[in-house]
């Protein structure tokens, strides 16, 4: 077996920042938003990660909402892409067999119209349910905020 202190050190010393789940989980990807067009609307697309330790079915995504430059976009206004399939985040309550895997980005289209290059203050709220915690559907409320520029999509 290829085991050695040198190989172990190689794995342990990789310089990647970690964070404590459910407390500091980053949701917004640290990269520019992209200009995008969806269902006849201009806007931006940005990528997000799930803030859990395991994949969740879309029926457990209770709410997503964004604030970009002071303007609020509720779930009904957004389009959520999981693996290139489009969903309205306000209409996923029945989707028990569509999964968001823990290592995958989802993409959110926000109908902002034409935004300038920025940077813009972007705030996200994500409410998810862990579908087994003892007393019933237990909702975790996550939030994240970043200053993001807009690049051509």
């Amino acid at each position: 077996m290829e085991r050695s202190e040198a190989r172990l050190a190689q794995l342990l010393d990789r310089q990647v920042e970690t964070y404590t789940l459910f407390q500091d989980s980053p949701i917004l990807a640290d990269e520019p938003m992209r200009t995008a067009h969806q269902a006849g609307q201009d806007g931006v697309a940005l990528r997000i990660r799930l803030a859990s330790y395991r994949a969740l079915p879309l029926s457990c995504i209770e709410n997503i909402e964004l604030m970009i430059g002071g303007t609020r976009y509720p779930a009904e206004a957004l389009t959520l892409f999981i693996g290139n399939v489009a969903y309205c985040p306000a209409e996923t309550a029945h989707l028990f067999d569509r999964w968001w895997f823990i290592l995958d980005h989802a993409t959110v289209f926000v109908p902002t119209g034409s935004l300038g290059r920025g940077p813009h203050r972007v705030e996200i709220k994500l409410a998810t349910v862990e579908p087994y915690i003892t007393a019933g559907r237990f909702t975790f409320h996550h939030a994240d905020a970043r200053d993001l520029t807009v690049a051509e999509g």
Partner: protein, 324 residues
Amino acid sequence: MTPEQNLPFGLGVALHSFTAEYVALKWSFEDLIELTGYLGGGVEITGPAHHRGYPHVTIEFERTFKSAVERFGVTPTCYGSYADPFTLPARNRTPDELFEFIGPQLEGAARLGFPVVRLQFFSHVVAERLLPIAERLNLKMGYELHAPLTFESSTVQMLMEQIERLGSPHLGLIPDCGIFASSVSDGHLDRARGAGVPDAVIQQALQLWSEGIELAQALETLRASGLSEQQVAPVEMFWGSFGRSDPANLVTHKDKIIHMHGKFFTMVDGEEPNLRYRDIVGALVASGYDGWLSSEYEGGASVNSFNACREQQSMIRSYAAGSK
């Protein structure tokens, strides 16, 4: 079981321990398998965390997993299934839906080479229906006894009665060491303070916890003392992480125990300050337990999870040597 010196049972890691590094993409899934080779060699995975396609095992994942197990010389010990009863907002999963959800997880676990599957206790309503599948696949299913459950709780008494009634070697128990606690961790107390819970309410919560008052009743008392709804979650975690079960149950019920979850939250000077590991290991040695124990780290990301597991396993080995 690995031929460890002084250790009658095998040690390994639940890959859940490495969650912080895994989700931050410091370590790939295969890196996690590789790391278990340095930590006793037993590998335990969690379905929805570790493979796309869950609850089904894809042929790609089967190849990846088996190749990593072979390459790094480790042993699959337990597959973490879920019942996920509260998946839909409108209603809970029906027994038929539980059966349809858990069945494929048993099939997948067997294909991957796991001898044991962790069941969440909600699965009990379909355990009898799942037994023929477990028998065909030569799998053992075990109810995880996780806080707030304890051996002494009515739910677990019910599970044990079912196990006795069904009388099958394919159904047993997987105690999580978090149920054998002597105290609640400082980390949990800090999170409650951080959520604004007043010190007096925290002290009252700890008093109720130490008296063995069950969660529902304790929350009633604490709400009356002014615990607000936003503050319930961090206080609930005192009961959700730490139980007051007696490790002697590991001897009394040894015939039902098919696997062990070595839950731990923090190591201080080579010991886990809140969990009764000396008593746990003593009981496992006394009972002749010869299965696997998966280290399961659930502390914060400020500590390297590999080093935490290594320290915990040293502690377990030294307690085992000391209890002979």
